[in-house]
Amino acid sequence: MSVWTDAWDYITSSTSWMGQNGLTRPTFDGGWSWAHDSILALTIEHLYMSAAAVITAAAIALPLGIVLGHVRRGGGLTVVLSNISRAMPTLALLTLFAASAIGFGNRAVIIAAAIFAFPPILTNTFTGMAGVDADVREAALGQGLTRMQVALRVELPLAWPLIAAGLRTSAAQTVATVPLAALVAGGGLGVIINTGLATQRYGEVLAGGVLVALLTLAVDGLMATLQKGLTPPPLRIRARSAA
């Protein structure tokens, strides 16, 4: 089948990995951006956008989840947030941003992806913190630990398996969301698919699809390994039953 051979040719040629003119291209204002004809550059851009989105989301969701979980309030809020984010199409957010002052391109995509990365981290952090055995909390408070110490040194380690699971879900989901950036003039591996469809080169479309899928599975696998490595052994069994 010619689509397969086209895809194979595309994925095995060194120009499609390194680009016609290297990994970067100059922009009109004297800066540079990642070249959009190089798989390598697009992969780096893809990972950078995903990381930026997840880190932004985690920077807000983790402290918020820890505080809300510690005081055991706001469970309804986390449920509502995750429900809304499920009903809201990513494309809707991207196009809404594009037509607003936020504009389009990578920055807008990172903001949109961060919004979708937010609920899984918040929900899991909240559930993990709020789910810590009340007796354990009592015991820690009774020993004279301050609330801060109870939250960070007792509840947080116990909630870690769930928090790590949330971070993993969030990261995998973000890497899978970023390809949509190509539809609103952003970068990342989705560009290969979008360009291929626009130019009717279906081999490239197929190759792009395989690359995006592999990258997502790789990130998911990496996060799973990290999650396992960073979880203290006694907590691992519970992590498995929670996931």
């Binding site: 009903a87 199409p89 494309l91 037509a99 539809l183 469809l197 899928a213 997502t216």
Partner: protein, 221 residues
């Protein structure tokens, strides 16, 4: 010179383009319902099989899990060269995503049935099929309904990604609005998407309440 007004919400847009909007809304709705229905028709036997044949549960859930991880854009890209541009491609993609949620929830529901109840039914002489449809299925319904709701809501959102193969329902309007910087078109279609998701969610919830009068009574008691 002032820029021409470009409001986010405009009733005139809706009035003037109602034909197109309702067409895409219909496509969006039927595509969602069809995808969830097909996914359920595949997921139910799969879940029953995975429940009865123990060693199959891991591979079935594992495969569905891997398929679920594949990004929607990539899945449409993988299908497009073979199934072409248009409805079939989107439908296959949507079914694939709805599958994992449904299989997982149906399986959880079936496994959560109290063994004593199954024992009692067997003791009463229930055969395998009557046991499944008369006893286990009603007991698993809450979990199945939860799965159906999640699957439906995510499917409504996913249909929009179909724009890459030219069949995205309301996503089509969003994308055209993006291309021509037409705010009313983007906002209206985005709103309709969310409203459609909530409406279908509510419809399933009401249908479930009607189907499970016992759950209603228990809550009231």
């Amino acid at each position: 010179m002032d820029a021409p007004p470009n409001p986010w919400l405009s009733w005139r847009y809706v009035e003037n383009n109602w034909g197109e909007i309702s067409d895409q809304l219909t496509i969006h709705t039927t595509l969602t319902l069809e995808a969830v229905a097909i996914a359920f028709a595949i997921a139910f036997p799969l879940a029953v099989l995975a429940r009865n044949v123990r060693w199959l549960a891991g591979p079935v859930l594992g495969t569905a899990g891997v398929l679920y991880t594949v990004p929607s854009l990539a899945l449409f890209a993988l299908l497009a060269p073979f199934t072409g541009i248009g409805r079939t491609t989107v439908l296959i993609g949507l079914v694939t995503y709805a599958l994992l949620v449904l299989v997982r929830n149906i399986l959880t529901g079936l496994e959560g049935v109290d063994p004593d109840i199954i024992d009692a039914a067997k003791g009463l002489g229930y055969g395998r099929w009557r046991l499944l449809f008369g006893v286990e299925l009603p007991h698993a319904l809450p979990s199945i309904v939860a799965g159906l709701r999640i699957a439906t809501v995510t499917t409504v959102a996913l249909v929009t990604v179909g724009v890459v193969v030219g069949y995205g329902g309301l996503g089509q309007l969003m994308f055209r609005g993006f291309q021509s910087n037409y705010r009313a078109q983007i906002a209206t279609s985005a709103l309709l998407c969310v409203v459609l998701a909530l409406a279908l969610d509510l419809a399933i919830l009401l249908a479930a309440r009607w189907l499970m009068p016992w759950a209603r009574r228990r809550r009231a008691a």
